[in-house]
Point group: C2
Chain length 114, copies 2
């Protein structure tokens, strides 16, 4: 994106975050499925490598958009879910999707028709 | 962006549109300034070439996001403004900006502090 001198404004920071690979899709999956384990996430987002999925999840956790829940069972259970920021973001993403559905398609929730 | 098999869903179409160069910024400027003439737009978006600005405006007009008003005076007067779709989009962008302001900055409208 080209925001010229506005690269470092809060809006630009958020837009760069959202336009990162898989970011919106991961948020969407966690919204639809609720708390999800790593393996299930990887099956859902077919085509993502373990390395890239780990990296994106860490980034979204650092941004406060999702939380990581670790249960020290044997084997350990690691679950990811949307934190309050993630849910807040989803409300806006939902509106964009609704709008996209009205403008460009018959469905208002095209992205989860896998 | 990577939506995998979802590339052609309405949401993906809208996201690709919004992530095009200058797109969000042009919508923002027209929202803040109201109907604006080509030359004034080009001064506002410093760094954009006449060719690229023409191309982006035509694309946004074709998408129904802005309108082009031509008055056959001498010299002709060409004005651009947000159409209903553009205003609808701005409502959602405003929410993203408000959220970005709370998360990443003290200001809730960083992008228009040129």
């Amino acid at each position: 994106m080209s925001y010229n001198e506005h690269q470092d404004c809060p809006f630009g920071v958020l837009m760069r975050l959202l336009s990162g690979p898989w970011t919106l899709y991961l948020i969407w999956v966690l919204h639809n499925k609720g708390p999800t384990r790593f393996g299930a996430l990887q099956r859902e987002v077919s085509g993502i490598s373990t390395k890239v999925l780990t990296e994106r999840l860490r980034m979204l956790e650092a941004e406060g958009i999702l939380y990581r829940d670790y249960k020290p069972t044997i084997p350990p259970e690691v679950t990811y879910g949307l934190s309050p920021r993630g849910r807040e973001l989803m409300e806006v993403i939902d509106q964009l999707d609704e709008l996209a559905g009205r403008w460009y398609g018959s469905s208002a929730s095209g992205i989860d028709q896998a």
